[in-house]
Symmetry: C2
């Protein structure tokens, strides 16, 4: 086993399903990346410290306290320690607003960044605010709308480096539940994809969003009555849900400067659906921006205490 | 154990979750009712016969062939034997159109009634057609719209005893998945109910059906940000979904003669939501109508062969 570099500080993206860790040197460059599937969803409060140490122990130095900056669902009520929300309008939260977590191991000082809440209409985010911090750091002049697709897709109005307002859609979670556990699981038995079916379905979803529950059952019926194939069905399920979302989010994207923060697959779907509406959106890599946001959250505090 | 009456014939409502059996005398009166949770969903094809005999064996007579008339998901592709669909427009199918199932036990002659399909837009039903047969038998002059709420709610246009057209909504299944398995499970942790919240949410769902995925997440957010309670949340989840459905089904109910076929709980929700729209709908008991429909399906054939 080779000698591990020692960490100056540690950046952590701790979501529901995954724990991603970057080992940072003193110039805030990542010198190693480690990860596990010990997400918030599978851990009891007393298990978080061990799950973290299992990944970072080789990078810690005896006699030194290494700061660990965490973002994401780790700070939820069901997480390690609840990190209270900051209310909009606000800049993406940094380490000054973080919650310090008591640890048994004296070599770490663990900080969980807050989520962001909106009082009216009620909404919350936890994790995305750090991606937004990355956008603000990498694109300081960006003014417009961010779309952050995922389990709970967020549409966020950014102006002058602040989160002005946002709205969350359960589109990704509905896709997963309907495709995996509803009667539609018999119809979407493939990982293949028919992009034409997606585009048509997104248009259908936009034209009659109220018909979503009927159009969804229509996917099953078309398989039984007219042998619609699985890749058409799977793309149609996605398209109907995203189309309905785009209608409801129209005030966010219509005539606006839009950027999408997501991985290649889901980001490209939103880009394609928006392109059909005449909106040209950039797609920015979510992993890059998360790390950038964690660096921003850490460095801000460094600067503030200089 | 008391002596069991012997069956002249046997009526079976065999759905995804339950197997319900009525033992019938020669005048088609039910003399006993037995049931189990051996629904289609938990049985492999070779297990159906045993699941049925476990309930009906005491009522069979040696040396006599007892007809068994089955309706429901037992005839689906995943069921015992697939019973092909009859296409709309059609009368509710009777025994003449049923599929005869080979059995090992010589004492029974098992018939599975067909489902009903619609070619355009594609749609299917399996089980509801027998409830509709019950309506046609009990209310022979009914002309109008039937709403059959459930896992897959059906809106059905009935005229002159025929199923003219229908549309299915996955509303019930979405309620179960979202309330039981999505992030909303943390918000709807009760069996209590707030009817005012339901009515308000149904109106919200009708006003902006496209916002369903955002309004759903709003239930979670309202719990986190403003301590919305669980019974308000649960009723709101139901109301938003039913409201969106009512918008899409408006062509079915607006200005029409509407009757609801369902159990008390779900039937009353649809009745209340429709009443807000100025529609007075009767609620008819689904269990009565299913048996009536099975009797109709059996007797029609008896009459035809007289």
């Amino acid at each position: 086993m080779s000698k591990k570099p020692s960490a100056s500080w540690i950046a952590v993206d701790w979501g529901t399903s995954n724990l991603r860790v970057w080992i940072m040197d003193e110039s805030s460059a990542a010198v190693a990346k480690v990860q596990s599937t010990n997400g918030m969803g599978v851990l009891a409060p007393e298990q978080f410290e061990d799950a973290l140490l299992a990944l970072i122990d080789p990078y810690l130095t005896h006699g030194t306290i290494t700061p660990v900056i965490c973002a994401g669902m780790v700070g939820a009520r069901q997480g390690w320690v609840e990190a209270p929300y900051v209310a909009t309008p606000c800049t993406p939260p940094n380490r000054a607003a973080a919650t310090l977590v008591p640890t048994k191991d004296p070599r770490v000082s663990v900080h969980i960044l807050p989520g962001v809440k909106q009082m009216s209409p009620p909404d919350v985010m936890r994790g995305e605010e750090t991606q937004i911090a990355g956008v603000v750091k990498q694109h300081p002049n960006f003014d417009g709308i961010l779309c952050l697709p995922g389990t709970h897709t967020k549409w966020v109005h950014i102006s002058a480096g602040e989160i002005v307002s946002f709205q969350t859609f359960m589109t990704g979670e509905m896709f997963a539940l309907l495709g995996g556990q509803s009667v539609l699981r018999h119809s979407v038995t493939t990982d293949d994809w028919d992009q034409d079916s997606f585009i048509t379905a997104a248009a259908d979803g936009m034209a009659r969003p109220q018909a979503i529950a009927a159009n969804l059952f229509g996917i099953r019926a078309a398989g039984l009555v007219s042998q619609q194939d699985a890749k058409t069905a799977r793309a149609r399920l996605s398209g109907l849900l995203i189309g309905a979302e785009l209608v409801a989010a129209r005030a966010y994207w219509l005539g606006q400067n839009v950027a999408i923060v997501g991985d290649d697959n889901i980001g490209d779907l939103y880009r394609a659906a928006l392109a059909e509406q005449g909106v040209t959106a950039a797609v920015w890599d979510v992993s890059d921006l998360t790390l950038s946001g964690l660096i921003g959250a850490y460095d801000t505090q460094q600067e503030a205490t200089k």
